[in-house]
């Protein structure tokens, strides 16, 4: 889904393993890097990832990630949980209100001036269709990427829940390409934040290593499923899981759970 797994991992570690939110965030960021590397290497080989677009947006995201890393140290656990819940809810709503989700390839524009060589094409393994697209509204995408970077470091989720909807709805990028490009970006963003935590000695090595092994296996399976599933179904799974997580974290943020 291009989320990096953090949006599932943080609630799992805090709600079921009773870890502190900050410990969960540190652990999750490292796991997000493993997930991203595992998934991205496959997506890139299949030509789904738009490397140039990813790096362009990553310029903005990296600024946000570094800022978020500094802010996170000073925020209370419950505030982080509440912010997490709001982000998850926003992502859910934005995916639900997107009326063009089944016709995404029709809104892709090509043939315009492209000095950054950002146009790309890929072949959908399920439908067999080759989709060519050219990203639009680069400034709006970059601005959203700053927010995604900050959220990533604050919440340990890799920023995917912001990046995928923005790329899809604002920039007109097909969902599968957005997912693959986001997957690459969340790895770079998360590694920036995680290196800040690692240099400060906040990361629990044993717990993190075990989490990395688990997410690695999950990511390998996820890539196989993502390449063979229809975009509409991928969207629905995304929405259902996010609603559940949003409610859980809201309860935690309000002190009603855990």
């Amino acid at each position: 889904m291009g989320l990096g797994g953090g949006i599932f991992l943080v609630p799992l570690l805090t709600l079921f393993l009773d870890l502190l939110m900050k410990t969960a965030v540190d652990t999750s960021l490292v796991a997000v890097v493993a997930t991203s590397l595992s998934a991205s290497s496959t997506y890139i080989r299949k030509g789904l990832t738009n490397l140039r677009l990813g790096l362009l947006l990553e310029t903005a995201t990296a600024f946000g990630a570094v800022t978020g890393g500094y802010i996170a140290v000073f925020l209370h656990e419950n505030v982080l949980a509440l912010v997490f819940s709001v982000v998850a809810f926003y992502t859910t709503v934005s995916m639900l209100v997107d009326k063009n989700r089944s016709e995404y390839h029709k809104c892709c524009e090509t043939g315009k001036e492209d000095p950054l060589n950002l146009s790309a094409c890929f072949t959908d393994e399920v439908s067999g269709n080759t989709t060519t697209y050219q990203p639009r509204r680069l400034l709006a995408g970059s601005a959203a990427s700053v927010v995604a970077g900050a959220i990533s470091s604050l919440l340990g989720i890799g920023g995917g829940p912001v990046k995928v909807p923005v790329m899809k709805m604002v920039m007109g990028i097909p969902l599968k390409a957005a997912t693959a490009t986001s997957s690459l970006m969340v790895g770079i963003t998360a590694s920036t934040g995680a290196l800040v935590y690692l240099s400060r000695g906040y990361i629990q090595e044993e717990l993190t290593a075990l989490t990395v092994f688990g997410t690695f296996v999950g990511a390998r399976l996820g890539v196989k499923v993502a390449c063979s599933i229809r975009s509409r179904h991928l969207n629905m799974i995304f929405v259902i899981v996010l609603i559940m997580i949003s409610v859980q974290m809201l309860l935690k943020g309000l002190g009603l759970k855990g």
């Binding site: 890097v33 595992s38 140039r52 990553e58 400060r200 990395v212």
Partner: protein, 96 residues
């Protein structure tokens, strides 16, 4: 498209090398720790440290590879973006 394919191939390979090296180091560290062998050959904590560092550095290495490719292909603007990403990461980590 040929240019894109060659970058894709290089980046994908770097990612796999970094990921599997990191996983091997982390697994070795965990095994030494679990079986109480830490310190006999090498400290398990050191292996875990190196493994985590290798894992976290790999995405940054991919950006560096992209930067080299963009320079070679004469894509100046994309090279500048890749350089900015590396600079921001360096600033963030060094001044933390």
């Amino acid at each position: 498209m040929g240019k894109t394919r060659s970058i894709n191939f290089a980046v994908s390979r770097i990612m796999n090398i970094g990921l599997y090296t990191a996983l091997a180091l982390l697994a070795s560290g965990m095994i030494l720790k679990r079986f109480g062998l830490s310190g006999t050959i090498i400290r398990s904590d050191s292996l875990l440290d190196v493994g985590l560092t290798a894992l976290l550095i790999t995405p940054i290495a991919t950006v560096a590879i992209c930067l080299l490719f963009f320079i070679r292909l004469g894509e100046k603007i994309n090279a500048v973006f890749a350089a900015i990403v590396l600079a921001v990461i360096a600033i963030g980590v060094l001044f933390s």
